[in-house]
């Protein structure tokens, strides 16, 4: 039985943090769920969509995070419960609307669930979205383990209804993408009726129009809600203390760092010397609870990711209650005891506790560590990121790189977030020269294209993926075309939101639940804006490069759609189009004069160098059969034949 439908209260499952969040939302009888995909948050909507038919939930992959939040909000003010999920940078995208939602208030329980990615394990930034809670004045919850991820999600809906405010809940990669045991709670029958009531006077919380004006009274009301939240948080069971009554050291922690702190105290066998105050309600902080625990000790250590959010907010309380709790010695990020970048782990916590309390602990014997390091350096070659075997992006960047080289005017490519971000690395022939937020490649290119009056004469290209096109590239493309910026926009269309697991987008024909939807054709959108649009198959390298070269000689708004499905897409995965072989009679290896173009430059993981034979060879386990390498070998030694399926 799937955890999605199991009505057996008390049943125990091994669940990913994201699954625990899903179950919590189901136990809260969520009605509407919306999101834009982003690692590590994507499984939340994916798995809710599996329950959507049976539990009458409307689930949507929205065009971007701001619209996703607007969709969720509509459900809330129609009296339903809704959840909106996103990764950390999604909160930036949604933040303008969020600012206004804080002022207008909500009706049915509304939860914004964001998954931060400390250490940027699958991000190109280390943004921390907790600060939005303080900046926009909204309650913030952070679960400290897997069970809590479920309980807290359920409670977040109740809290939202009690406060009439959207509630932010923050997860991190090491909870969302980690798994632990979770005991199920009660799953009731689905319920919920939608009606938007607006007959009362503006400002009526239940049945007036939902607006933010006049602003100061609404702002005052928001701050009243936060005061109410503080009173609730003072008694919240999500804030727990474990340890002696008078610890030598008090750790104040939250989120996954709770687990690292527990592990560190256990490793050091310091349970009777160190207490752990785990905070689940991290904004606004409950000052009485904090002061009560500060009074227990003189030494306080903060363990959190990534910036000193908890640390600085606790220090305000410490200053305000200094007369009562006394002077403290603080250890954390501001004094350099803890790092202010990257993710945490048990070892970092062990090291700092060791120093503070003077405990001896050796994690790894020095002799062993040195031997292991020696073997690591000599015998474990670094594994750089690269495009997958058969990835269309490798071929696309090969074409872009070669066309730019042939054009010979120092042209370059601006890009953004997606698998194709790797285009800045050798696997993309170092073709991409800028990479920032979604859609920013074409936005930056639009700016570059207006620098001709300052003597800039380099061809300017921008790339973005098909999902990103809808998410944030369209306004930048409008800007480039309207302002007559001289750029070529290359759409890397691999037919889905590939990086995060093939979620649909407005250009694909299915909704989150597998139902049919009308598609919006990017080519038609571009044409309607006045651009010329051409297509190329990146696997046809000769033709694609010819088209690119010709486009670089033209002026005006030009769009090239490089269309080829992702090698990992469910339709394509495991199906080889070509059987590829290196003809060992023709491949002359280092004596050829090609200087190992195929392996040294093209670098597909499926085409390796056989040291014994000193020649290229296909690794049949890895090769995806795209056949592009056959076009690259100048001697024609790489042979492709239709796989015949």
């Amino acid at each position: 039985m799937s955890y999605l439908f199991d009505t057996n209260e008390g049943a125990r499952y091994l669940m990913m943090g994201n699954d625990a969040i899903v179950r919590g939302a189901l136990e809260a009888n969520v009605n509407v769920a919306s999101a834009y995909p982003g690692t590590p948050s994507s499984e939340i909507i994916e798995n809710l969509s599996k329950a959507s038919q049976k539990r009458n939930i409307y689930v949507e992959w929205s065009v971007n995070e701001k619209v996703a939040l607007e969709v969720s909000f509509a459900a809330s003010i129609a009296g339903l419960r809704s959840i909106c999920a996103m990764k950390q940078n999604g909160v930036n995208v949604a933040s303008d609307f969020l600012l206004h939602v804080a002022l207008s208030g909500t009706r049915g329980g509304a939860v914004l669930l964001h998954c931060d990615d400390p250490g940027a394990l699958s991000s190109i930034n280390e943004g921390e979205s907790r600060h939005f809670a303080r900046m926009i004045e909204l309650p913030l919850l952070e679960p400290g383990d897997f069970q809590e991820a479920k309980e807290m999600t359920k409670w977040a809906f109740e809290l939202s209804e009690e406060l009439r405010s959207i509630v932010i809940m923050r997860s991190v990669t090491r909870l969302s993408h980690a798994s632990g045991n979770v005991i199920l709670g009660k799953l009731g029958a689905p319920e919920g009726k939608a009606q938007f009531k607006y007959e009362a006077v503006p400002g009526d919380a239940d049945s007036g129009p939902v607006i933010t004006m006049p602003v100061p009274p609404h702002h005052a009301l928001l701050q009243e809600k936060l005061k109410k939240a503080v009173a609730i948080f003072e008694k919240s069971p999500f804030n727990t203390y474990t340890g002696p009554a008078k610890p030598e050291l008090l750790i104040i922690t939250c989120s996954a760092c709770n687990l690292y702190s527990r592990e560190a105290v256990h490793l050091l066998n310091a349970q009777d010397r160190v207490g752990i105050l785990k905070i689940g309600t991290t904004w606004p902080l409950p000052p009485k609870l904090i002061a009560r625990h500060l009074a227990m000790t003189e030494k306080v250590l903060f363990v959190e990711e990534v910036l000193p959010f908890l640390e600085e907010n606790v220090k305000v309380i410490a200053a305000e209650t200094a007369a009562e709790v006394g002077i403290k010695q603080f250890y954390g990020k501001n004094d350099g005891a803890m790092p202010t970048i990257n993710e945490m782990n048990p070892d970092i916590v062990v090291d700092v506790i060791k120093k503070i309390l003077g405990i001896e602990y050796i994690a790894m014997d020095e002799g062993y560590a040195n031997r292991a390091k020696g073997h690591l350096i000599a015998r474990a070659p670094v594994r750089d990121l690269t495009f997958c075997p058969g990835c269309p992006h490798r071929a696309s960047f090969w074409n872009l790189h070669n066309a730019l080289a042939m054009d010979n005017r120092r042209g370059f490519v601006c890009g953004d977030i997606g698998c194709y971000t790797l285009g800045f690395l050798p696997c993309g022939f170092s073709t991409m020269k800028t990479s920032h937020s979604m859609g920013s490649g074409i936005g930056i290119a639009s700016g570059f294209g207006k620098l001709t009056q300052f003597g800039m004469d380099q061809p300017i290209l921008a790339v973005c993926g098909d999902s990103t096109f809808f998410h944030a590239a369209i306004p930048a493309l409008v800007n480039a075309i309207h302002n007559k910026s001289d750029v070529i926009f290359v759409l890397l269309d691999n037919s889905g939101t590939a990086m995060t697991g093939f979620q649909p987008h407005p250009g694909t024909p299915l909704d989150a639940r597998g139902g049919a939807l009308p598609t919006i054709d990017p080519a038609e959108v571009c044409r309607s804006l006045g651009a010329t649009v051409e297509y190329a198959d990146p696997f046809d390298t000769e033709e694609t490069q010819k088209k690119l070269l010709a486009l670089m000689r033209e002026k005006g708004a030009r769009v090239l759609i490089m269309k080829q499905m992702c090698a990992l897409s469910p339709e394509k995965k495991g199906k080889k189009r070509f059987e590829v072989k290196v003809d060992q009679q023709i491949c002359r290896g280092d004596t050829c004069g090609c200087s190992r173009l195929c392996t040294r430059i093209f670098r597909c993981p499926g085409l390796v160098w056989d040291n014994k034979r000193q020649a290229a060879v296909i690794d049949e386990v890895i090769c995806a059969g795209c056949g592009v390498c056959a076009e690259i070998c100048p001697s024609g030694a790489i042979k492709k034949t239709e796989a015949g399926r």
């Binding site: 091994l14 980690a178 070892d347 292991a372 073997h375 690591l376 015998r379 392996t599 390796v608």
Partner: protein, 210 residues
């Protein structure tokens, strides 16, 4: 169905490999097996951008007491299961100790730096020597080669799970494996996976008898 006693509590296992080898799937199956037998299981996974040619590592914490951190502390692994042999060396440098056991597939996946000729890939003998220097017990098996004989290279991960079972370090067997995969896989898929699992058990036992 109850799990027997654990050799260590928590028992720390690392399953490592390269994106696309089915590492995450293997760790979830093993985690589910042990969770169903009443253990607390915590799994920490690194996936996302790491699918694109990078190392992928899963940390499993198996305990009769409680949930543990999703990251194993330095030097605290009890077993390293490697779907790619040089990944075992990489893991030992951070999580190894003289008592650790290593179970590794022999099939190399060359990093792009090796393909490009910038880095060297060690011979199997060198790998064996390095692992022997860092672990108390090393078993190298040709999991991918055997999986290809079964018709699917990806089954290398299941063969390795079979080898873990055969090594007798964790309380589970082929029937426990069947119970878990039957929940999500169709009948013919279950059978080919069972074959792969048994192959792994068999290979590790044969190695022990040498």
């Amino acid at each position: 169905m109850k799990a027997g006693n654990l050799i260590h509590d928590p028992y720390n296992a690392i399953i490592t490999g390269v994106g696309g080898q089915g590492n995450v799937m293997a760790s979830r199956i093993l985690g589910n097996i042990l969770s169903r037998k009443g253990c607390f299981v915590t799994i920490g996974e690194t996936f996302g951008v790491s699918q694109r040619g990078g190392s992928v590592m899963s940390h499993l914490r198996i305990s009769k007491q409680s949930v543990w951190s999703p990251q194993i502390p330095r030097g605290q692994a009890h077993i390293v299961v490697a779907l790619e042999p040089t990944e075992a060396i990489r893991v030992l440098a951070a999580y190894g100790n003289p008592a650790v056991r290593v179970l590794s597939n022999t099939r190399p996946i060359h990093p792009v730096g090796v393909i490009a000729g910038e880095l060297a890939y060690p011979s199997l003998d060198e790998i064996r020597t390095a692992l022997g220097d860092l672990a108390s017990d090393v078993a190298l098996i040709d999991a991918t080669d055997e999986a290809m004989k079964l018709g699917q290279a990806i089954l290398g991960n299941v063969i390795m799970l079979g080898a873990v079972s055969g090594a007798g370090v964790l309380p589970f067997d082929a029937e426990d494996f069947r119970d878990v995969i039957s929940e999500t896989m169709s009948g013919d898929k279950v059978e080919i996976n069972m074959k792969a699992f048994s192959k792994g058990e068999e290979m590790i036992r044969a190695l022990r008898q040498k």
